[in-house]
Each structure stands twice: as C-alpha cells, then as structure tokens.
Amino acid sequence: MDLDTTFQSRLQPLAEALFGYAVALTRDRDRARDLFQECVLRALAAPAPRCDAAFRSWLFSIMRNRWIDDRRSDRRRSRGLDMVKVEPPDWVRQEPPPNLSAVIVNQLAVRQAFADLGPLHRDVLALVDIAGFRYAEAAEVLGIPTGTVMSRVSRARQELCRRLSDTTALPLAEPRTMRKRTRR
C-alpha cells in the first residue's frame, strides 16, 4: 500500500540512527528494540510530516517522548525505592575543562564511557553525534534553546573526555579474581 511503502522508504535511511538513539536512551538492546518498535507503531498510527527534515525530528521526538513516558511509569511503579538518579543542572557544574592531551580515543573505551554518561548527556550526544542532528534540530527534539544544546554538548564531551583520560581510566582487564590471586 502506498502509505506503508512511503513510510518504510522514509524510515529505512533513518533506522540505524533511530535505533542507535534508542540504545543510547535505554542502554539495553532488548529494551531499545521494544522502544524502536513502539516508536514505529506510533508513527504509523499518526499523520507524518511531508518534509524529510521534519519527518526525522518527528520520529526522534516520538521515540524520546515514548521513553520519557516509560521512565515515568517505571518511577511510579518503583515509588519509594529511589531508583531514579537525579542529575544537577548543567550550570551547577563548575569542573575545569579536561586536558585533551590525556584523552585516548579508543572505540571500545568510547562506547563504554558513553554508556556511563548521565541521561541528559547521552541524549544530546546521541542526537548530535550518532543521529547527526544540527543543534537547532536537536533543540527542537529536546524542547530546549539552541544555545543550551551547544553548552550541553560541550559539557557532555568534557565529561566523556574525563572518562577517557588516561589519568583517570581504570584498567579494563583487572578482574576481581586476579586481585584475589595476587593477595593470596
């Protein structure tokens, strides 16, 4: 059918980035797959924007809103257990910028460091670096001013760099069992 064919042809080039965004939000491949499916279902059930740029922002917004709804539901279910990590706003953080000369860009380490970022920073970096959004487009999806996107991207990268800095990096291959053997 025309509607379906058109939708799929428009979705296909965005699917990889969209799924990457789902992984960035959820940090769980199975949950990301569910989120992706829910997003596509919701998109199919609603009238899609004709403009391709608007269509892309629209899809990512649907996914993000769905994720926010899921998190709210999770919080309601786990009320009292304090499972939600609260991040201070960006302007509160006064840490000095990282020394980039100490940063080691290794694909595996980058992936791990990215997964360890807080949700705000993962969210904005996923939109800008994984999905390739312009700041203005990311601002539309996130519902914040473009200037805030700029500062948030910067702070997210600073945090990422700190985690990738060789002065703070923890050796990945130092399992507990090895330490135990050493002590013995």
């Binding site: 379906d4 799929q8 296909q12 990889e16 992984v23 059930a45 000369s101 980058v110 994984i130 760099c161």
Partner: protein
C-alpha cells in the same frame, strides 16, 4: 600578538560546524598558531567520529524489508476504498462452528495460539499489506490459512518478539466480521471494514496500548483510519495485562 585560545565550548561547536563564519575563522587561525589547539580539535574530531560509529555496532537490522509478494486483488481494491467502522472490545468463545462466526474466529485463534494449528505460512496468497506493517514491529507471520467454513475468510497469525500472538482475519466481503459477544478479560478484538473487505484483529493478554497501536497502524495501511480512535482507546483501556511471554 597571540590569539586568545578558544574555550572548550567553542572548539566543540567548531567540530560540529555550528559556529558562524567569523567564529570558525578565528578558531582556524588559533589552530594554525597553536599546536595545542590543533591537537585538541583533532581529539574532538576523533571523539565525534568514534561516537558516530557506536550506533552501527549496536544495530541488528531493526527494520525488516518487506518482500514483494503476490497481492490479494481484493485487498488492492480495499486500498482504493476508504471506509471504515470502529472497533469493539469483547469475548468468549461459544460453540466454534461456522454458524457462529465470532466464536469460530476466536476458536481459530486459540487453536493456533495453543499450537494445534501450528504450521509454516502458506506460500500464497500472502497479504503483504499486513506483513509489511507488522514485520518491522516485531510481529512475524507464523501461520496463514484459509477458513473455508467462512467462505473467503483467511487467517493470518503473527508472533511477537516476546511471545505475543495476534490473529488478523480478512474476508473478501463487505459484510463486516462481527466481534464475539461476552466478557473475557484477556481477549481484545478490533474490527473494521472497507467497501470490499472486512478485517478483524484478535489477541489474548497483549498489552492494550500496543494492541491499539497495532490496530491503528493496520487500519492506516489498509485504508484511511477511522475517526473514532479515542473511542477505541477508551474501549481497549479495560484490559491492562502485559503480553505473556
């Protein structure tokens, strides 16, 4: 005279191509004049490139490309027509005979869901309108069979990634498929029809919201969505059991 060193935020925006021409030129000049700035820009470019590769590493074909299959002529005609009626929540199977189509459809669904009607999907004629919508959403066609007792009716059965089971019945007829009456809390039914075909979707224990979304998508694909979406959501909200795994 030495140029002021751009701050981290400016370098970050430069890497993203988000600075004005004047600001970008300033950063470029600073990079030429200061090897440390050039090195920092190089690291930020490398970091951005590494992050861009995170997505492909995690992707495992989330979208299934719809195969081009033989179309059912009646469904192609139904696409041109766009006239639908609403959905109804309802239940229990009475005696599963062709004299009671509603109970017969529920029985057909239950037989397939319990494994009694298991089997490979038939090669033809598949309704790619349905598979095209459901496959990308994790519902894979696992059974397809004619229901001779109900004339031209055909049963399409889909299995979800977490064990959800959904049946879609299609009749090449303007006579609507009537949802079963009664009250089984875990049974969800939605029906709609066009001028040339009638559809009925049926599932047990599926998340109500997901069921509603699937049905809305199906209705959009098989024609124009009905205006009573809100009413349908309200009707389906009575069932809240998560899909059984």
């Amino acid at each position: 005279m030495t140029l002021p060193r751009p701050d981290f935020e400016t370098l970050s925006a430069y890497v993203d191509g988000e600075l004005s021409a004047e600001e970008a030129a300033h950063v470029a000049e600073a990079a030429v004049a200061d090897p440390d700035v050039a090195r920092d820009l190089s690291r930020l470019h490398a970091l951005k490139a590494a992050l861009a590769r995170v997505a492909p590493e995690t992707v495992v074909a989330p979208v299934v490309v719809r195969p081009r299959l033989l179309r059912w002529p009646a469904i192609a005609a139904a696409a041109a027509a766009a006239f639908f009626t609403g959905a109804i929540l309802a239940p229990p199977a009475k005696t599963p005979t062709s004299d009671d189509p509603a109970a017969f459809l529920v029985a057909a669904h239950d037989a397939w869901a319990s494994g009694a009607a298991a089997g490979e999907p038939e090669a033809a004629p598949l309704q790619d309108d349905l598979t095209g919508v459901l496959a990308p959403n994790g519902l894979v066609l696992s059974h397809s069979a004619p229901l001779a007792a109900l004339g031209s009716a055909r049963h399409y059965a889909f299995t979800g990634p977490r064990g959800c089971k959904l049946s879609v019945f299609v009749v090449d007829d303007t006579e609507p498929l009537v949802p079963p009456e009664g009250a089984a809390s875990d049974l969800m039914v939605a029906s709609w029809n066009s001028r040339t075909a009638s559809y009925l979707a049926l599932a047990r224990g599926m998340n109500a919201e997901r069921f509603e979304l699937v049905v809305s998508a199906l209705r959009n694909v098989t024609g124009r969505g009905s205006p009573d979406r809100t009413e349908k959501i309200a009707a389906l909200s009575a069932t809240r059991e998560p899909c059984r795994v």
